[in-house]
Symmetry: C2
Subunit: 711 residues, 2 copies
């Protein structure tokens, strides 16, 4: 019964999305010139995503077959569901964005409030789609498995089939997500960096000037990278964390507690869809015209309502007294109320990460100011200062995460951490809405510029866009923070799974003669695992940055070629060949995303078998793989935060100068700031956020590896 | 007896140094103009180091008093010895460099071979000073403690006093080293970055042009940062690793084995001083005029001889059969021969790290080429590609270190790792010689430029300088690799110390009721410790980069001011005020080095007491601190390697363009490459190498914390 209510909540999200789309589409799409530009962007975005998903599809089919043979058809189908829905969330989100952009530009002609409303509502569609599809996927498949197929959670083997199928669903989502993040990220930043370098710096024309042959590609990139890529990413975090919490519940509890606690994360998600929908109505521009404030009203409303909802859910669902229920895991005793407090900690972590990220990336704060100031003395000092800020920005979030881990652990053990992350992710719909708002306004500004709309419109879209930069940075901080905690939950699932298999090695014969690994840091295999895991985000980041640099370089050369071959472009008498840049970037992004995406998929498997081969000792291999999972979280967290915060700070330092400080637009300081922004682009929009799904894929592949070995 | 031979080897290093200094000083110091410039550099360097050591002295006195009360006078004196000798190594090295620079310039007038010989020999003085003083300090104090004071290794309490005193000696060395690395690094890169940005990029004058008011400061920086700072750094790695190996020996073995194994690292060091001295004679320019080849001949000769020497030492010193001796630690059985192979692995690691670093930083290889190529499309792509290379360059060294850990561990357990690092560090004298060669040739080039020597001389010094860039990068790779492994040995000492104190908690009453921590990754305190340790290199690096950026910005403004106030400078009719830049940088560097240097000193102590305060459980606190030590190694290794390799690659990409590729000097590509080089400067010469001592200080403070708690 409860599961049907959960599914209904998921459907509510889709219905809300559908209605909002209808309302958005009913608005005017502006002048014919605007529609022409928008059509070009739509066409490019669709063409790119079609090719991207075709390529991922091929990888997906291979993995589907492998999963079918190694883990059985329930897991293979789970993988398929996760992959399809993750792709769908990105695809539909993109389709809404490419229609909302031109309507936002048009709405901005009527003022800030109208522009904000249009952009935010289209973002909300993507946001609710992500959580709606995520919830329907996980809860729906869980329903099919337990009630449709009649797999019983009371039966150890059947419960494990359910668990594996859900983990495989998470893997499907992760796989799509890393490809989408990386491919989209390479496309968008190749266009952005290349376009800026040749347009702003060399030719001295403004951003989104229609004379720049890379400008349509830049706008396409916003949609396929920042919108579709990000949607796939948060879909993944959402689905994987939900699954991981369910897995932990299935391991830690028995009987009716097991059923209740496996339901709990789904119920939290369902409840928070309703609170998110309510929250969207709180997003309204006040008298002060504070756009960021309008957004936060929505987030805070959602958070407060979710917290209240969490209390009710815990009180209703937990058998044996709700919030008063006495629970134990191992030798840790806690109550339902403790779990509620864990949820509150999850929301507190979110709040603190938002505040810290805003501090590091917001205009008017020290970090952005010092970067802007350093631009006065040149390109070099700008970049040095930006790198300094990016490194420094990791410290406070890491401390917050540490404190969060400790409080939740002291309250309710590892399951407390899982509940904290689940609650944190209950805000995902709202947060994605904030983020998806960014590319829409960015596009709107581009369309306004290209269509030559009156100056006021551009001012309005610029104001919206500046807020978009901050919300994008904040979302990324939130995504990596929750991903880090979520990955710890996955690691807990890995260790608990191992314990389980070892304890039941009469059934799981592969584990006969295997002790439970201790993961002690005094074990050299653990150290090696940590180093090996630690190198993955670095290698991955390096490859991603190279890919963007290469794509951007190609764009620069193409634009230079067009300027030279068609001198009429700069005079405005000739139309640049926009399609070539889009086409070139599509090919480059698809090609470059493949190897790095497979790195985290293959690494745990390779490490396991290499260590096992060297020592002929399974425990050593399990120790090494376990430590690798932590290693990838440890360096991954720092790499991702430093990149996303640093990139945001560079971007806003440039904007700060463009607002007339330190010489303003066209000054040498501005040129230096553009260089910094350029460097920050792949940092914050390609490599940094892609580390997210990378961390989780490594963890989830390790779980599937255990399942395959046990099978 | 053996100890006296070891001390004699240490003295031999000093004698070699003294004779070489005499021979260097007997050579002509060039024209009066050259001498005048050299005098200005000398004066600036001396003034800076005096102020730096005065500041460190104040911190040192405080720590001396604290050590005296917490750990007793033997530890306090040990701290004093380590600090004094580390300072002395840097100070004397600097004094030789500032005299050899002008003589190298003069010698270069007679050709490449003469220039190389002069520069290398002065580098060798610093190199042998580092190892000579390091060995005399450790072995001498060990002799005083065991024979002078009659402390018996057979007596548990007395052995522990010896151990603590040696660890304190290592701490003294580390403390000086982090200050020197950071202070010197901020000075040198503030001058370099600032000078380049305003000189090369803005004013379009060549490097080291006498019209640039920052040029003397730049040359001073080479001596106080790259020479004195680096000498203190490797002194520290050398002393700390020797001490750590001795401590492990004292923990793992008893009776005559204990005495023999505590002697072994000292004997290896003594032997390798002799092989290093022999190795210096192999450094000769062949017919091919391959400078790098000449250097490597010396390194390879030293390595081969050291390996042979290691075999002899093991065969002579290990009681019960030398290489055939059957040894056990815990349940690990191995032979003396296994230890020899561990030493061979240490040399193999060194060789591989050299090859990998050369690949990532050497001209003509893919990484440098792609950075150079990316410069064509602008500042942004140059920096993006450089960052990509810097991240990617961490992967292979990490793999090599992992393989090294595993092989040595499989051969002889944790003690095998210690022997591998000891053998690795037996090359330290030679490696420091290669590195100290760099600033001397850099200065020589500067002096040649400023004194207006004929073009050929500058070409010669440029050729030497280019090699200096690679040797500097190689040395840093070596330093961080050995530091990482050395820190693992320190971590082993931490865990073994804990076990020891817990087992003897009737004597060490603080440890009553404490279990031995397991350091399991499934323990949240361990995870928190890893994250907390992991954030230290990031925070530290961020602060260091900010400091350089700030210092460089100040230099840029000062130079711009002088150009404006004294228009005669650019016409060559007015002499710039060199002293002001030196003075400004001195103040900035001293001020900025203090807080980050104390970060690793205080972190373990703060973490221990905070965790203990929160949980009232000492085991949790020990777990957290232990994990922190590993966390700082894991991220520290990647941060340090990425910075040092990336910086080297940027530097040589610029050189490659200056050699006439992609448009050559003055082209837009060159300007972009200068920006990259500028960013790489604090990466490779300030933040990156300073992470080294930072890692070890954290570890060594943790050891002293245990000692203080036990006391």
């Amino acid at each position: 019964m409860e599961l049907y209510i959960v599914l209904a909540c998921g459907l509510a999200a889709l219905v809300y999305g559908g209605l909002t789309v209808r309302s958005v589409l009913s608005k005017s799409a502006g002048t014919p010139r605007m529609q022409e530009i928008a059509a070009a962007i739509q066409e490019g975005a669709r063409a790119y995503l079609n090719r991207q998903y075709t390529t991922i599809g091929i990888v997906g089919v291979v993995i589907f077959v492998v999963a079918f043979f190694l883990l059985g058809w329930t897991s293979a189908v789970g993988f398929l569901i996760g992959a399809t829905l993750s792709g769908a969330a990105g695809y539909v989100g993109m389709n809404v964005s490419v229609r909302a952009n031109v309507r936002t530009a048009e709405a901005s002609r009527q003022g800030l409030a109208m522009g904000l409303s249009m952009a935010f509502r289209s973002g909300a569609v993507t946001g609710l789609l992500v959580v709606g599809l995520g919830l329907i996927g996980v809860a729906g498949y869980y329903l099919v498995l337990t009630q449709g197929l009649g797999l019983s959670l009371a039966d150890e083997v059947q419960a494990r089939t359910v668990q594996n199928a859900l983990v495989a669903l998470g893997f499907g989502a992760s796989l799509i997500s890393i490809f989408a993040r990386l491919g989209g990220g390479i496309f968008t930043k190749g266009a952005d960096v290349g376009g800026d370098m040749v347009g702003k710096v060399e030719a001295g024309i403004p951003e989104d000037d229609p004379r720049n042959p890379a400008t349509i590609a830049d706008n396409v990139g916003d949609n396929v990278g920042d919108c579709a890529g990000m949607a796939a990413d948060l879909f993944e975090t959402y689905a994987v964390t939900t699954v991981a919490t369910m897995v932990l519940a299935s391991i830690y509890f028995v009987g009716e507690q097991k059923t209740a606690f496996m339901l709990l994360p789904l119920a939290i998600n369902g409840m928070s869809i309703i609170t998110s929908i309510i929250g969207t109505f709180f997003v309204r521009l006040g008298k002060s015209n504070n756009i960021m404030g309008a957004m936060y009203k929505g987030v805070v409303a959602t958070g407060v309502l979710s917290l209240a909802g969490l209390y009710v859910l815990i009180d209703r669902l937990i058998p044996g007294g709700g919030t008063a229920a006495a629970l134990t895991i191992g030798d840790k005793a806690f109550t339902g109320l403790d779990l509620f407090w864990c949820g509150a900690v999850g929301l507190a972590i979110t709040g603190l990460i938002v505040i810290i990220t805003e501090y590091y990336t917001g205009t008017g704060k020290r970090p952005v100011n010092v970067i802007a100031k350093a631009s006065v003395t040149g390109h070099g000092t700008n970049v040095i200062q930006g790198l300094a800020v990016s490194m420094e920005s990791t410290a406070m979030p890491a401390v917050v995460i540490c404190v969060g881990i400790i409080i939740t652990y002291l309250l309710a053990g590892l399951f407390g951490i899982a509940i904290a992350v689940s609650t944190m992710l209950s805000l995902a719909g709202m947060i994605v809405a904030l983020d998806a708002f960014g590319p829409v306004t960015d596009n709107a500004g581009g369309i306004a510029e290209m269509a030559g709309l009156e100056g006021d419109v551009r001012k309005t879209t610029d104001a919206l866009d500046a807020v978009g930069n901050t919300t994008k940075a904040v979302t990324k901080g939130y995504a990596i923070g929750s991903a880090g905690l979520g990955a710890l939950v996955l690691f807990a699932a890995y260790t608990e799974d191992l314990k389980y298999f070892v304890a039941h090695n009469d059934t799981f014969t592969y584990f006969q003669g295997v002790e439970v690994p201790t993961f002690g840091l005094d074990n050299p295999w653990v150290i090696v695992g940590l180093f090996f895991g630690g190198l993955l985000p670095y290698l991955f980041g390096g490859i991603a940055m190279t890919a963007v640099g290469r794509a951007a370089g190609a764009v620069v050369e193409e634009v230079r070629r067009q300027f030279k071959a068609m001198p009429g472009i700069m005079e405005g008498t000739q139309k640049p060949d926009y399609g070539r840049a889009v086409d070139m970037l599509t090919k480059a992004a698809i090609k470059e995303m493949q190897i790095p995406s497979l790195l985290p998929v293959l690494s745990p498997i390779v490490l396991y078998f290499v260590v096992y081969f060297v020592t002929n000792n399974k425990v050593d291999a399990f120790n090494a793989v376990g430590a690798m999972l932590i290693g990838v979280i440890v360096t991954g967290l720092f790499v991702a935060i430093s990149m996303t915060s640093g990139g945001g700070a560079w971007d806003n330092a440039k904007k700060y100068i463009e607002d007339g400080h330190y010489g303003g637009k066209g000054s040498d300081a501005h040129k230096a700031a553009v260089t910094g922004d350029t460097v920050g682009d792949p940092y914050k929009d390609t490599a940094g956020p892609a580390v997210n799904p990378m961390i989780k894929i490594t963890n989830i592949v390790a779980l599937l590896l255990l399942a395959a070995l046990a099978h």
